[in-house]
């Protein structure tokens, strides 16, 4: 199958899918917090573009609303909030210590292959674009987890968490043309509340352990000291 045999829309979705996964890789490689927040905003913008594209082509007008929600929430509100938080905490230039980047990248690549393997059985059911979108969104979810596992900063964990949500959203838009509106609004509300609570928690964690390093969250143990 050559690329020309697919409609422009499918080709566009495939292209954006590749870019979305690419931003996930960039996040894994990014050491600075502010750079990571920028990448997160870029990923959000790509999701909004996917959503708007689907709304325009298919046409599913209600997807314009979800594109708008993403732009407001994930491209503007949450990144701005995170930027202001790290500015207030004086962490703008903070970088994570090196964590075996080579191995992390190799693990990330194998996770992407694993995602393609998982969605393989769905192949006969769907178009090329849907199948790739499914695999890519699963990969973004797994890469978000990998980001959370390999980093030690609370802020990075939040970005990883939100990147997982991005992956889920991409799956919903690219494979099922978006969830019903009630559900989408509910999910957006949850994400917003979660972001606010995360922001509150930064200050609590900082005042309780005097840093934002999760390695120092170690008071609760199964084995008593």
């Amino acid at each position: 199958m050559s690329a020309q045999s697919h409609s422009i829309y499918e080709q566009a979705i495939l292209f954006i899918a590749a870019l979305v996964v690419f931003t996930s890789f960039l996040m894994l490689a990014q050491k600075r917090l502010s750079g990571m927040i920028h990448l997160f905003a870029v990923q959000g913008a790509m999701l909004a573009a996917t959503s708007a594209l689907a709304a325009y082509t298919l046409p599913y007008p209600h997807l314009y609303v979800s594109a708008l929600i993403i732009v407001v929430l994930k491209v503007i509100l949450i990144p701005v909030m995170l930027h202001r938080l790290i500015a207030r905490m004086d962490m703008r230039q903070d970088a994570e210590p090196a964590y075996l980047y080579g191995y992390v990248m190799m693990a990330a690549a194998s996770l992407v292959m694993f995602s393609y393997y998982v969605v393989e059985p769905i192949a006969q059911l769907s178009t090329l674009a849907t199948r790739n979108a499914m695999a890519v969104s699963l990969a973004v979810v797994l890469l978000g987890m990998l980001l959370m596992i390999t980093r030690r900063q609370v802020v990075t964990h939040v970005i990883g968490f939100m990147a997982i949500e991005n992956g889920l959203f991409f799956a919903a838009v690219a494979s099922t043309q978006g969830m019903p509106m009630v559900v989408e609004l509910g999910i957006a509300f949850d994400v917003l509340v979660a972001a606010i609570i995360f922001g509150v928690f930064f200050f609590h964690i900082r005042s309780s352990i005097d840093s934002l390093d999760v390695d120092r969250l170690n008071r609760l143990n199964e084995v008593e000291p």
């Binding site: 043309q177 019903p180 999910i187 949850d190 609590h204 309780s208």
Partner: protein, 488 residues
């Protein structure tokens, strides 16, 4: 207007009112009244469903059948009795200076908010909304876990937030896959997430997609059930939050997460025609049961001890639902009821015991029988009940699970028996020194409201001696719904 709207509306407005006036001295009483009103509405709804069968509302967004109506009543009841306990308990905590006015407002508002999400999980027919409500429950309880703002509670809340947030994201992926599978059926459109519609078309759903979806749903909601190895958040959250919250977490949240898994299993079974979903649940259930039973022996914190006991019992229920068949399903439904009643009663008593001893460390809680006999007896009876001793209801349901296992998987029975014995020993080795023994210095009785405890244990005892006809009918109807045929 249907009472469903009342059940959802009362905690909704209660949440806002309590966010405004939750620090007033009467706020605790108001909390109880709100929960009581929701309980009455739940009873009305139960009668409605009992008389006219399944209730469907608002373009199938809400659907109440025999399975969820009994959980709604149970949720409302436990929520109400825990609120009765919570009033004086939280007032006492405030006198001790652990909380200020703003935190009291937050606590009461989030109590109502949590109840709202629980009712939404149970009443909604839309699997997407179910996910939203489940995530909402996480957000509400995260704020409750970190209420004391101690370094430990912040750590517990953070762990809970991250683990459950990531876990439940898997469930959303599963939900998207379900919607994708439903999209293959022509003409289903926007109704593709409605459980009843999916259930009617279950045979047409693509089995491969459904089996992948179920794995994600099980892992996602399984994190909230506290299935091993996704359970790490549970003991921390239970031990560091305020005690009434531990009672509603164990008594309600875990049940409702299991409810979500069972609903998904019903869909997958219809599509797959193979016992894959059941076997997965049996495996996770058995593992959780055995691991948690072993961990009981190592605990030093009394609330951690009982949260491991919760994991153990959720394991039994998941196992029994996975076993399938009328008898096991009946047993699992009954176990859900008796466990949530007994466990919330235990947490209420433990809360009093911890206030008496001014610590949650087991080695410092001593001689409860002498300090305050009511609390001591409450704890003894609660532990006897939860360990599965006759004549309490937990014995009956565990016995039924064992019988069902003997029928279909005889080789698993020894593991179950072994686990029950280990758990029994684990609970009693800690219980004995806590309630008996000499009176330690400096322990004084606290003002305790033990009515909820006695009411819960009384019902559990009653269920163990003879299941009342109405309830047996109810369980049979729910069993018929889940397993296809009735046990009796």
């Amino acid at each position: 207007m249907s009472s469903v709207y009342l059940i959802l509306g009362i905690p909704f407005f209660g949440m806002f009112y309590q966010a405004w006036r939750g620090d007033a001295p009467t706020a605790g009483r108001l909390n109880t009244r709100l929960c009581g009103a929701a309980f009455l509405a739940a009873l009305v709804l139960a009668v409605e469903v009992g008389r006219h069968g399944t209730v469907e509302l608002a373009h199938l967004q809400f659907r109440i059948d025999a399975f969820n109506v009994y959980l709604i009543v149970l949720t409302a009841f436990v929520g109400c009795t825990t609120a009765m306990f919570s009033g004086p308990y939280m007032a006492h905590e405030r006198e001790l200076g652990r909380l200020n006015a703003a935190r009291m407002r937050l606590y009461h508002a989030m109590y109502q908010g949590f109840m709202l999400t629980m009712y939404l999980v149970l009443t909604t027919n839309n699997l997407g909304l179910l996910w939203v409500a489940m995530e909402g429950a996480t957000l509400a309880t995260v704020l409750l876990v970190s209420l004391y703002r101690s370094p430990e509670s912040i750590e517990a809340a953070w762990k809970y937030f991250i683990l459950c947030g990531v876990g439940i994201a898997q469930a959303l992926f599963g939900t998207v896959l379900l919607y994708f599978a439903a999209g293959q059926i022509p003409g289903i459109g926007e109704y593709g997430l409605q459980w009843s519609v999916l259930y009617a078309h279950a045979a047409e759903l693509n089995p491969t997609v459904m089996s992948i979806a179920f794995v994600f749903l099980l892992v996602g909601y399984g994190t909230k059930i506290g299935l091993v190895p996704l359970h790490n958040w549970l003991p921390d959250a239970h031990s560091e939050g305020p005690t009434p919250m531990s009672a509603i977490l164990s008594g309600l949240l875990l049940n409702d997460a299991l409810y979500a898994v069972v609903r998904s299993k019903m869909l997958v079974d219809g599509s797959l025609q193979s016992p894959l979903a059941g076997h997965l649940m049996m495996g996770f259930g058995m593992l959780s049961f055995l691991v948690a039973a072993l961990f009981l022996h190592r605990q030093r914190d009394v609330k951690r001890l009982f949260s491991y006991s919760s994991i153990e019992h959720m394991g039994i229920m998941t196992f029994a639902f996975g076993l399938g068949g009328p008898l096991a399903t009946f047993a699992a439904l009954m176990h859900m009821t008796v466990h949530s009643l007994t466990k919330s009663a235990i947490f209420v008593t433990v809360g009093h015991a911890a206030q008496i001893a001014r610590t949650q460390r087991i080695e410092h809680i001593r001689g409860l029988m002498r300090t305050q006999p009511m609390v001591g007896w409450g704890l003894v009876l609660g532990v006897v009940a939860i360990a599965g001793m006759p004549p309490f209801g937990v014995f009956t349901s565990e016995f039924l699970v064992l019988t069902a296992t003997m029928e279909s998987f005889p080789w698993l029975t020894p593991f179950l028996l072994l686990g029950i014995a280990i758990a029994f020993a684990g609970l009693f080795r800690h219980l004995h020194p806590m309630v008996y023994g000499p009176l330690p210095e400096g322990q004084t009785p606290v003002q305790a409201n033990l009515w909820p405890v006695m009411a819960h244990l009384g019902i559990v005892l009653w269920l163990g001696l003879s299941i009342p006809g109405v309830l047996a009918d109810w369980f049979s109807q729910a069993t018929r719904l889940i397993a296809g045929s009735a046990p009796l």
